[in-house]
Amino acid sequence: MAENPVLPVYKEIEEQSEATIRFCGDSGDGMQLTGSQFTQTTAIFGNDLATLPDYPAEIRAPAGSLAGVSGYQVHFSSHDIRTPGDAPDVLVAMNPAALKTNLGDLKEGGILIVNSDAFTANNLKKAGYATNPLEEGGMAKYRLHAFPITTLNTKALEGSPLTKKDVERCKNFFALGLMLWMYGRPMDVSLEWINKKFGAKPDLAEANKMALRGGYNFGETTDLVKKHYYIAKAKLPAGIYRNVTGNEATAFGFIAAAQLADKELVYASYPITPASDVLHELSRHRHLNVKTCQAEDEIAAAGMALGAAFTGAVGLTGTSGPGLALKSETVSLAIMMELPLVIINVQRGGPSTGLPTKTEQSDLLQAMYGRHGESPLAVIAPATPGDCFSMAIEAVRIAIQYMTPVIFLSDGYLGNSSEPWKVPDFDKIPKIHVEHYKDAASFLPFLRDPKTLSRPWAIPGTPGLEHRLGGIEKQENTGNVNYEPLNHEKMVLVRQAKIDGIAQSIPLLEVFGKEAGDILVIGWGGTYGAITSAVEMLQKRGIAISCIHLRYLNPFPSNLKKILDNFDTHIVAELNLGQLASILRGRFGVDIQSITKVQGKPFKTDELIEGIFKIARSRGEPKWQENSLASPH
């Protein structure tokens, strides 16, 4: 673990409790790498943090174009934080296009670092600037540092045997060095990473190190930067930590779940943004009994996973919205066959191809209802990147215990953003109990466990248990094809009752805040950080507000209704047009208000606070009219 570095003495140090930095530049500028390197160092240093990468939809939009801007935001602090930050305190913009698309977000008075070398006439034009914005009045509200980073970097690399182009490509490490210096962070983590990455190409390794040190030294020596900042370690629960993105944690969680169930994991998927990284991650771990198949399409992927589930493996498939639509017929078959198929859906902006690289929570209704016939299944949603790990295990646990398909609703924000994750002690996680039926004499494929209503999982290879499953309605107990009217109704009802019964096996909801009060904010999925942060801020101002976060969406935790009844105003905040809100109204007949946002972006804490205020005021609560409360900042 890295220790606090000895801070250089000859510049002013300002202590802060938190900061948000955004690196942005052309897709070719390596901003994702810069951001994640800064994050790694910061994490190891001991801050709490959260990140938000933001890729363009194009692979490589033309260099310098607005469409080609790539960004990476990191929010780090000396206390517990849960979001990647509303607005950056520091913006590093490597070219005019990056400046143009990101400047609007920078806080007033924030630090703006730009690579002035990139502000050529050509680049300005590509970004749609008529004149050089650095020379305009508009910059006055920021602390602008326009450095010729390309030139400085080239100087720092003098003597490198690399080509000019390759030298130039190191400039992101120069920027990284500068930022490390600015926040008093050591370089060792990145130096080591460079060694590992470019081990085979010593010239490249050396150049990148020179760039990194160059940036760092430039900060230390230049007169243009007057001070740097110090953000103390956060008091995190003791343990071993690592950074993890939601997609990584998802992959890890399913591998862990399979091991907990003592099963092989079969993951069949068809690539689709933002779910592909789960496939990539899982593909790497053949040594952990993970079989991955890139199927010909999403339907085949679901089919393969279903076939695997029949065979006794953990059958998993993963996709994003359009792929979930395609899988629905197969999922309906899994419901009828009552097999433990798990479906990951990493949501993105819709409808149709929509905003493929952006986040949204608009597949909830599809997950709940997007199948023909009465076809209930379990739906769960992780709340944070790290929670993806735990909920993946829950998905497999529920699927196997109840012999049902389970939809695991992640989203692009969860999938791509990272947070420090306290690595769980695998040995302490409860095993997933699996019992494959063996007794031929008593076997009936659809004889139900009286408690869970689930049917036996009898797998091929077991002598005497040969049986056929199909999509046609089946006779109770025997599972034979059956078209009788009353049998059908019985089966429809029992499939529903089985899913409803899962509520008995899931944890009760915990209220964040007091158990009763004026306002209850309800969230689900990846909005956890933003919602709890907003609610916490309002609680601190003495408002009787609490929140709950639904990680189990079908069925709901059994104490949900009771909690709803303890509050006057219920607000669902979600990244769609009010999907959970309408489900809750339909289920419980309670009055629900909605805060919605459908912009392909996560909630900002501020937006939520404003939204809550607006609703509260419109509902006429006098205390919300007070001036002190009306403007939260």
Partner: protein, 342 residues
């Protein structure tokens, strides 16, 4: 599975008859195919519980209900994908796919060609009756052009597919054709299919008495059968005809029907059937044969060996395990961690 052979009590046809009433129309060709399957299975030396029959939707796809093995009667067109999942998860199982011309070639065309090209060890039996039976008589991808059916009262305007051509185009390692009415040949081909390791594609001409009766009359009628079919036998020249005096020879790439003894044609001039050719072109050539100009080939068109998908996957796992410890901890901790002390 070889090791277990000794311990298996001899199975009989009866062991493969399920307790479900068979519900095809009287006279349906499916009965004959079911009977042959039930005859062949016990002869394979594989324990009954290791068989999985996977089907889609269609009259033909009801077959798994009638075979007393593990089975999945799935959804329309998806059987090859679901069967792939079964085989990949447990390569030790003997997985058979039962499908129809609509199920396999219309809605399921894509899964079929991908299962074939991956060389997943599935025995795929396509019951080709050139019609949609279960939905009561619409034309299928193998129906002849101009065919009048419920959905084409003015005649079909779709050129038919040749199932074996498409299978070969999709890199299938085993392709064969047989017919419901010739139970001896049917049983023989099913046996050969069962013994092939890798994706195995068998087209079975099957008569639908209700919606497309006598679709294969020209190849089943006693009078015309011998002249309209040719039985492919490995290593034997392509000879056919009632008097076994017709043969096929090549003129450049173009095949022609010749009469032995006429114009000096002898057996030596004929193509000798070779099912093991690495190049699939010859098999493709055969797949284009159609009456009235050519006889319908029955038998194994091509049978070659290459590693199967599931074996390669298993090998990757084995190799990866040799290299890396299967400790989950290594994965969870990753390469960069830090410790927060109490």
């Amino acid at each position: 599975m070889a090791g277990e052979l000794a311990s298996i009590p001899a199975l009989t046809r009866k062991d493969f008859v399920s307790n479900q009433d068979v519900r095809w129309c009287p006279g349906c060709g499916d009965y004959a195919i079911l009977a042959q399957i039930q005859k062949v299975l016990p002869e394979l030396g594989i324990p009954r519980e290791k068989f999985v029959f996977v089907s889609g939707i269609g009259c033909s796809s009801r077959l798994p209900y009638y075979v007393n093995t593990y089975g999945l009667h799935t959804i329309h067109g998806r059987a090859p994908a679901i069967a792939t999942g079964v085989k990949v998860a447990n390569p030790d199982l003997a997985v058979w796919v039962i499908t129809g011309d609509g199920d396999a070639l219309s809605i399921g065309g894509n899964h079929l060609i991908h299962a074939l090209r991956r060389n997943v060890d599935l025995k795929i039996l396509l019951f080709n009756n050139r019609i949609y039976g279960l939905t009561k008589g619409q034309y299928s991808p193998t129906s002849e052009i101009g065919k009048k059916t419920k959905s084409t009262p003015h005649g079909s305007i779709d050129y038919p597919m040749h199932p074996i051509s498409i299978a070969l185009g999709a890199e299938a390692t085993f392709t064969a054709r047989t017919i419901d009415s010739d139970t001896g040949h049917l049983g023989k081909i099913l046996t050969e299919a069962a013994h092939h390791k890798g994706s195995t594609f068998v087209e079975i001409y099957q008569n639908c008495v209700i919606f497309n009766d006598n679709a294969f009359q020209e190849v089943t009628d006693r009078d015309t059968r011998a002249d309209n079919t040719i039985t492919l036998e490995h290593g034997r020249p392509l000879i056919f005809g009632k008097d076994r005096n017709k043969g096929i020879r090549l003129k450049g790439m173009t095949p022609e029907v010749v009469t032995l003894g006429e114009n000096g044609v002898t057996e030596q001039d004929l193509i000798v059937h070779d099912e093991t050719l690495a190049d699939s072109t010859y098999a493709f050539l055969l797949s284009r044969f159609e009456p009235p100009h050519f006889p319908v080939p029955l038998g194994v068109f091509r049978s070659i060996q290459r590693p199967t998908y599931e074996d390669m996957l298993t090998a990757q796992i084995k190799k990866a395990k040799e290299k890396k410890s299967s400790e989950l901890k290594n994965l969870l901790y990753g390469s960069e961690t830090w410790t927060v002390a109490e």
